[in-house]
């Protein structure tokens, strides 16, 4: 079984639009939406929900007003400035429990937190594992790890050879959680200075965790000079550009209709996506990937 994760660093480069098309082009796969705090893949794939689960993780401190003597020790020790006027601010509490351990009168309890939900759904291309992290919640990395685990189990049980994961933007906790141990990363960039800057950082994360990346330049014709710079950079780093996709309004239209672009029309963009998928597919075959490729670390 192989696992492809699609990342970008910068948001809005077109990860989800491309993943939706890959879903249609791959013959048999499990899909996993690792962007747990702004998941969008379900909007194109129109899944039927099969299972819904609660995601409980972490804790929050609660101060019992009638027991509290207002000594102030908890406020003084909390590094996250989460306690003010002897009340806990849920948005700031990181659930460390320091206050609970030090309260001299036992006025603080730690309560488990419902941090989100995760789902298993059916799409016309295969099962989709996706999630919704609660607003303002922490632990997005843990939720990503959990849904990737579930996707793997489904793939093993129902004999799917491939998992395609739509990753989150950025380079932090949920990205690391989406990437570590995957066979191959596709990094989708755009020819803007921001796109290039963020590409370099997310490629650094790929190196750090020993996952081989392929690069795709989306909207390459918005600035062809910058696209050339990306190609030169990738060449100098011995990285493969697996595809160049033009700016195309058809993406927005196909999303609005809930159909992956490759099924919505047949134009030059679609042919570019098809050849991009072909390259990815060949690379997946080649890379044994994941942590075994520790020699790729710089």
């Amino acid at each position: 079984m192989k696992e492809l994760v699609v990342l970008s660093g910068k948001g809005g480069t077109g990860k989800t639009s491309l993943v939706a098309s890959f879903a249609a082009l791959a013959s048999s796969e499990v899909l996993c939406d690792c962007d747990v705090d702004a998941a969008d893949l379900h909007l194109v794939l129109q899944p039927t929900r099969r299972e819904s689960h609660e995601f409980w993780t972490g804790q929050i401190a609660i101060i019992e007003g009638d027991k509290c003597t207002q000594c102030g020790l908890c406020q003084q020790l909390c590094r996250f400035q989460a306690i003010r006027d002897f009340r806990v601010d849920a948005k700031s509490c990181e659930g460390c429990g320091f206050c609970f351990h030090v309260c001299p009168v036992g006025a603080i309890t730690m309560q488990d937190k419902l941090s989100g939900h995760w789902f298993v759904s059916d799409t016309r291309y295969g099962p989709l594992v996706h999630a919704r992290l609660g607003i303002a919640q922490q632990n997005s990395g843990k939720l990503v790890a959990l849904i990737r685990q579930q996707a793997k189990q489904i793939a093993q049980k129902d004999r799917f050879d491939l998992i395609i994961s739509d990753g989150p933007p950025g380079i932090g906790c949920p990205v690391i959680s989406s990437l570590s141990g995957a066979n191959l990363a596709l990094v989708v960039t755009e020819p803007t200075l921001s796109g290039i800057h963020d590409l370099e950082r997310v490629l650094g994360v790929c190196r750090h965790f020993g996952v081989s990346p392929l690069v795709c330049i989306n909207k390459y014709d918005v600035n062809e000079e910058n696209s050339r710079k990306i190609e030169e950079y990738c060449y100098s780093q011995k990285l493969t550009i697996a595809g160049k996709i033009p700016f195309d309004d058809a993406f927005t239209e196909s999303i609005a209709r809930g159909i992956p672009l490759v099924e919505n029309c047949s134009n030059g963009t679609v042919r570019q996506i098809e050849s991009l998928w072909q390259r990815i597919f060949e690379s997946l075959d080649r890379y044994q990937g994941g942590l075994k490729h520790a020699d790729l670390r710089l």
Partner: protein, 288 residues
């Protein structure tokens, strides 16, 4: 006044908004731009600030003094993040899991734990043509952005106008960046993804008692969905920027909108005036 520029969905134009707003206001007020998207900071690419200072961001992590430790296991028991494991005769620490809460060192009965700083990122500051600039940069491979965001926000000076460029999403890094703001500007695009993530961003703002308004970027024929939603929720649309290849190309070259097309400056000043009115009148707060 602190204005947070957030979005839910990535790539909708937060950095374009934040930089153009800052540049448009610099003649009117003391303006700071704090780039709190520490995973992928981009504002410096448009503002080209002259960096005058930098400071590493360090997370306090435990260091065990072997001679004093009696392997009682208290530290491992109190650590909520499983960053310490104690086996007879040995203490293992996992600094990358540590949140720096300080419980282990405070609660160690033998006083065997001290804290050392582990660098997780850097904060840099400087000036860009009259705009005070601060950004944070999370080190590649580090998972926790919050300490870097907190450090950037310490630079906020409420006497002037502070514009905070926020990362995409709705989880803890976004909340940390928006916290303490007087206004939250939500940037969206008129696509199904844009609307879906705007709804999520609005529920994020709802967690705070701050007014908010929407900017529709890449606006065109299909703004109806976003407009209907905003009307239903009573959220004002404060600015509309059309889908325009020239604007996209300026951004791609790292040229702020109000530098490339100075006629836009007027719109950003108007936007700021509207925000100011809403903050002072206390309007635009969304119902919980």
């Amino acid at each position: 006044m602190i204005i947070a520029v957030a979005s839910g969905k990535g790539g909708t134009g937060k950095t374009l908004m934040a930089t153009s707003l800052a540049l448009s206001l610099k003649e009117k007020a003391r303006v700071q731009l704090l780039d709190c998207d520490v995973e992928e900071p981009n504002a410096h690419l448009l503002l080209n600030p002259a960096i005058s200072g930098r400071e590493p961001v360090c997370m306090p992590v435990p260091q065990i003094e072997k001679g004093k430790c009696n392997y009682c296991g208290k530290c491992a028991q109190v650590c909520a993040y499983h960053a310490i494991a104690v086996v007879p005769g040995y203490v293992l620490t996992f600094p990358e899991l540590c949140h720096g809460c300080g419980a282990c060192s405070y609660l160690c009965p033998e006083g065997a734990i001290s804290e050392v700083g582990r660098e997780v990122g850097v904060v840099e500051w400087g000036n860009s043509d009259g705009v005070e600039f601060v950004h944070g940069r999370l080190n590649v491979g580090e998972p926790l952005a919050l300490p870097v965001i907190r450090k950037v926000k310490q630079f906020a000076n409420r006497d002037g106008v502070v514009i905070v460029d926020v990362s995409p999403g709705t989880s803890c890094p976004v909340v940390e960046a928006v916290k303490g703001s007087d206004f939250c500007l939500l940037v969206t695009e008129p696509t199904l993804f844009g609307l879906n993530d705007l709804v999520l961003a609005v529920s994020m703002v709802r967690e705070f008692d701050v007014p908010c308004g929407v900017v529709i970027n890449r606006a065109g024929m299909k703004d109806g969905l976003v407009r209907d939603y905003c009307e239903k929720e009573g959220i004002p649309i404060l600015l509309t920027i059309p889908l325009d290849m020239e604007i996209a190309r300026l951004y791609s070259r790292g040229i702020p909108l109000v530098v490339g097309l100075p006629e836009w400056r007027r719109h950003f000043i108007e936007l700021f005036d509207k925000i100011g009115d809403m903050v002072h009148e206390g309007t635009g707060r969304i119902k919980r």
